[in-house]
């Protein structure tokens, strides 16, 4: 581009980042679709499978062999016998139940379907994405790994397309397609539910807490795949698709059930391979947004997925698919001083993981999530979103925006993130490109002003949802989900910035800072992934970084820290503001609950509390007492509530199946006060007007 750019030069270029400008090879990545655009899809899906590597101890078996072996396994027999002898059931009916469970669960992997799948998916992907970038070194590594070890794929989960992509990429690179642990809801999707099962997906119920038979069958089914190494086993450690595009707190149950095979020395090691999939534009973005607002989601369905927003005709930009460095469970256990000898005294099919093993699995789960995060690719759009959220009134001029985004880009590079920033393209052009890609969220006016759009009203059943605050909220929640994609890079710096920003004087003792930091970390531990026991290290690193960029200065030996309020502190503390204000509102809601003679509020279900707090937020928004739309995000409110529970500030009341909680007023108000010192909140009196009024109208009744 020439030097003499006019202000609006970027507008004149149709598509500065069109497909032609995106290279097939980029850094360590290569585009899988490129060859497919040039060759026959039919040939592709019919190619032979001779080069697919195999686990060295694998014995060939069919899907029905697997089922049969699982039913006959010691583990399942043992549980069945127990159920019979506990008089819970008679033989015939338990066995029948076992067969039914397995039939509902098992995959039906077969090559014919895979070919069909490949044929079909390659077309879909070519329509959806410009490029699907895969790190080639990861592929090579996987192909070798598969031969030597049982392998677990642990991908991030942000979209339905995750498992389709993984299987497709495996097919493309001649890696055995994984057996995928998928949630039962997917099995009900008409065509996909079936197709996925043919392609190796097996379906697990969402909750089966104490159902011993189910647990035994599921464990055996998974472990059987591990032991025989039929194919990699894939599951989503976050348990479900992350609606917020941040990593969810990992679920350990499935992981430890899988790792048991190693703890009990059935296999000599298991390799865990984190996989990070970064989408420039998430297909389900608006579905998620409404779901987060509490609008009931339509049932999972294939047509829902594709029709939702005319998906196939929408440009979804590029995808980055990064296969991470495998983690050896053996190494992890050796480092964790785990001694497997403890399992020598019992038959191995009896469920008996030790506390140490559960603890180790949990640590590993967290570690895996951090590993996934490290390899996520940040689209420039996530930077734009982050800056836009801070824009006053939801509007900002492109010049200003460019400046800020450019600044943020440098910070992120500096923090070691991979930002997919195109080389040799003007910032403004990049921004314009992404504005086009996300034209459902933002608009660039003729005068160069960026503005955030409100979402179109949506139909749910017969009702039409058209509340303005709400539809604005939807856009904001979408935007915040893109911001969330970079939060893992900056969150620790943000926490320190909040602490510094809130300080009244110009210097602070480092120990006091750490204390406040630790408080914030605990409070936000459902929101972001922190490793327990690493608080101090994380804090120190963030302080060092801020020092490095000139935001802080260590003043003396005693660890007094001096600072001037500068750009870094201001920006990074502002990023965290929506979270803190939402949590504060949640506390206010809890404190406003009427109490009985003992000073206790009526215990309520988690969900109810979150919805009521959202309601309070909605009113505050409507009256512009607060401006933060994220208060409407139920996920955030529920995270906040769980943190309060974790921190012991809530009374727990376990009733049949569900947990009821009520606030400990003293403790919750302590948290609220602390939050008020860290972030600017509306005054007490302002809030008082709202919280004393009984809540009459609930959100769903507005629909």
């Amino acid at each position: 581009m020439s030097d003499n750019q006019s202000r609006n030069v970027w507008i004149k270029i149709d598509n500065p980042l069109g497909p032609n400008t995106l290279a097939k090879y980029k850094d360590i990545y290569e585009d899988v679709l490129d060859d497919r655009r040039l060759s026959s899809d039919l040939k592709f899906c019919l190619r032979n499978q001779e080069n697919v590597p195999k686990f060295k101890y694998n014995t060939e078996r069919s899907s029905s062999d697997i089922k049969e072996q699982v039913l006959k396994s010691d583990r399942v027999r043992y549980v069945i016998e127990h159920l019979i002898s506990d008089k819970k059931s008679d033989k015939a009916s338990v066995e029948k139940e076992a067969e039914e469970i397995l039939a509902e669960m098992a995959h039906n992997f077969n090559m014919g379907s895979i070919r069909f799948f490949a044929f079909f998916m390659v077309k879909v992907f070519k329509a959806l994405f410009r490029r699907v970038y895969v790190n080639a070194d990861g592929i090579q590594m996987l192909r070798e790994l598969i031969k030597e070890y049982p392998v677990l794929f642990i991908p991030t989960h942000r979209s339905y397309f995750d498992f389709l992509l993984i299987s497709y990429i495996c097919y493309e690179y001649e890696i055995p397609l994984p057996a995928i642990a998928a949630a039962m809801d997917f099995s009900n999707m008409k065509f996909f539910g079936w197709l996925l099962r043919q392609c190796g997906a097996f379906y697990i119920r969402r909750s089966f807490g104490t159902d011993k038979l189910y647990w035994a069958i599921f464990t055996e089914y998974v472990q059987s795949h591990i032991r025989n190494g039929d194919r990699p086993v894939e599951f989503f450690i976050e348990g479900t698709r992350s609606r917020t595009a941040k990593s969810y707190v990992p679920k350990v149950g499935m992981l430890s059930a899988t790792l048991e095979s190693y703890f009990k020395a059935e296999v000599s090691d298991i390799m865990l391979v984190p996989i990070s999939i970064s989408y420039e534009k998430i297909l389900e973005e608006s579905l998620y947004a409404f779901e987060l607002l509490g609008i009931p989601k339509p049932k999972e369905s294939t047509s829902g997925l594709f029709k939702a927003r005319n998906v196939l005709n929408t440009d979804h930009g590029t995808v980055h698919f990064h296969i991470g460095t495998p983690i050896s469970l053996r190494q992890w256990s050796v480092d964790g001083n785990l001694d497997r000898i403890v399992h020598s005294l019992e038959p191995r099919y009896i469920n008996s993981l030790t506390d140490d093993e559960n603890e180790l699995s949990k640590k590993l789960a967290y570690h895996l999530v951090l590993e996934q995060q490290k390899m996520l690719v940040l689209s420039p759009w996530t930077l734009i979103a982050t800056v836009l959220i801070q824009a006053k009134g939801g509007m900002v001029h492109i010049k200003e925006l460019s400046k800020e985004v450019d600044w943020l880009k440098r910070q992120l590079f500096n923090l070691g993130a991979y930002v997919d920033w195109p080389a040799n393209v003007q910032v403004e052009n990049v921004i314009e490109h992404y504005a086009n890609l996300h034209s459902n969220i933002v608009r660039v006016r003729e005068d160069g002003i960026f503005e955030i759009l409100s979402q179109n009203s949506v139909k749910r059943g017969k009702k039409l949802l058209q509340d303005e605050v709400f539809l604005n909220g939807a856009t904001n929640v979408m935007l915040s989900s893109y911001r969330n994609q970079l939060m893992h890079v900056i969150v620790r710096v943000c926490l320190v910035s909040v602490v510094v920003n809130s300080c009244q004087s110009t210097s602070l003792k480092i120990v006091d800072m750490l204390e406040q930091y630790a408080f914030l970390e605990r409070l936000l531990s459902r929101e972001f992934i922190f490793i327990s026991g690493k608080t101090k290290e994380d804090f120190n690193n963030a302080v060092i970084w801020l020092q490095h960029v000139g935001a802080l200065h260590i003043e003396d030996e005693e660890g007094n820290i001096k600072f001037s309020l500068n750009k870094h502190i201001a920006f990074f503390s502002a990023v965290l503001e929506p979270f803190l204000i939402s949590y504060w509102v949640l506390c206010q809601h809890l404190l406003s609950l009427p109490v009985d003679v003992h000073g206790r509020a009526l215990a309520k279900k988690h969900k109810e509390i979150a919805i009521d707090a959202q309601q309070l937020g909605l009113k505050l928004l409507q009256d512009s007492v607060i401006k933060n739309h994220e208060i409407l995000n139920l996920d955030m409110l529920s995270n906040g509530l769980h943190s309060l529970i974790d921190m012991g500030t809530m009374y727990k009341d376990k009733r049949v199946e569900e947990n009821y909680v009520s606030p400990n007023h003293r403790l919750v108000s302590g948290i609220a006060k602390k939050l008020a010192t860290l972030v600017e909140t509306p005054s007490w009196t302002q809030i008082g007007n709202y919280t004393n009024k009984p809540i009459t109208q609930s959100l769903s009744s507005k629909l």
Partner: protein, 611 residues
Amino acid sequence: MESDKKPTLTSNNCAKAYEDSLQVPESASAIPKRRQDLLKWNGWGYKDSHFFVNKNEQGEFTGERYNISGTIMPGMKDFMMRKVSIDLNKKAPAQPELTARDIPVPITNNEFTSEIKKAGISFSDDAQDRLFRGHTLHEIFILREGRFERLPDLVVWPEKHEDVVKIVELAMQHNVVVIPFGGGTSVTGSLLCPVKETRMIVSLDTSQMKKILWVDEKNLTACIQSGIIGQDLERKLMEKGYCTGHEPDSMEFSSLGGWVATRASGMKKNVYGNIEDLIVHFKTVTGRGVIEKSCVVPRMSSGPDLHHFIMGSEGTLGIITDVVMKIRPLPECRKYGSIVFPDFESGVKCMREVAKQRCAPASIRLLDNDQFQFGHALKAENKSIISGFMEGIKKLYITKIKRFDLEKISVATLLFEGNKSEVAAQEKRVYEIAAQFGGIPGGEENGQRGYMLTFVIAYLRDIALDYKVVAESFETSVPWDRLLDMCRNVKDRITRECKERGLQHAPYVTCRVTQTYDAGACVYFYFAFNYIGTANPVHMYENIENCARAEILANGGSISHHHGVGKIRQKFLEPTISAPGVGTLQAVKEFLDPKNIFANGNLMIDVKSKI
């Protein structure tokens, strides 16, 4: 087998081929008092018997003692090049015989020595006598290439129980360390002298206590001095028409006292029992006097069995002297056999079934594919694997009809003993079970050859060392349900540990199942690697073997089935028997040996118990 020099097997198969294979000369004892006159001082077995690669680059075994002696094995070199990557041009020759100047100056205790002299007990401080020790890799490697930091200062040769009592009394009196020495076949470092020991160390060599004191035909027992070595014991009893049936693979050289002290196991335990089943009574000379029972009875209930405390004590509590053992009439018939299985797994399943039905023949062993191939490499003539192995069996049948994959098959070797009809019945039953698991009979020669190879296998380590390959075996016991996983995981682990240590060549790891029990089996591993490019191969070997042991324990296996703990497995003792367990052993040691004169440092000694 047609090329073996002495086709000893007659058609009725109940001939004395087996005894012949031991090749015992007529003298009173097969091994002289000065062992080094007949045996290698720095390697395994007889001086006249060893493997080497001849001018035509073919493997050869010298001497006349074994069936394989004097034969040329064209496949051997190739096998060694393939499996352990030897380079014929890269040799690590052993150092010449050591002299007094090369070994530590003996620590003396003149009072003790003169009292020994006075008592008329034979002794020596000759360098060669002091140097004859155990057969752990560590020891052999030092003899070949290094220097010992500590050796016994004196060797004494008691001839009877009373001599031992005298020696122990004197040792107590003069605070001298006594390390019992039987046949020196220990593979656990149990005969190594603690480097830090500043007292005089006496090696109490039991080899001259080699008499059978009496044979009681009514009760079928015999009282035997503990220094007798296996081959002498069996030969002498045979003259009277008896045997003990205790045949560890080291029986040519290992002693009765050594067996008791290590809880040894013989290959024919299915008929005769392990050492603990064979022993009726024995005396142990301790620092507090002689421990023994008052009667020679088959069983008694008199509190915890003291025999079991001393069996396996590895020389830490006292000296075992006179042992009363069960004897059996010689079997009328002895017959070998073998079975070919499509793979190791089906072989294991078959063994499990045989154990379940309690119809195991005197010996049943299962070799994995690598070991089977190895056996083939030691064949006299260079034939294809299958024709070499499958004499008398149609090659077509195995490969075409049964579709066996030669890279997967595994082989069981069998030894039946009893009268003719018993043997016939046993054979029938075992082969029937084998058939259920896809096993087909592989002929008698192969079985016999398998057992013969057992004796010469020990000679291989010396040629391996010649070509810069360290090798050792280790064993364990494991429950049936874990056996296959354990074998696979241990091999995997070793391979990976070698790789992680940057060894240039993949190791050779193979295993075999050597004993079956109701509740599990004994598994033997052979592990060798080419150490070119490594600074301290023995140290590396020990590290890797420790990893393998840790893997075994994690897989539900034991610290050892019969070799014992010695020094090399001490760190696994406490995890195996619990801290109070170690404490108990230590307490007994403290009582019986208050001055710690049996300070060989084995077992629980020096283990820091948490108690």
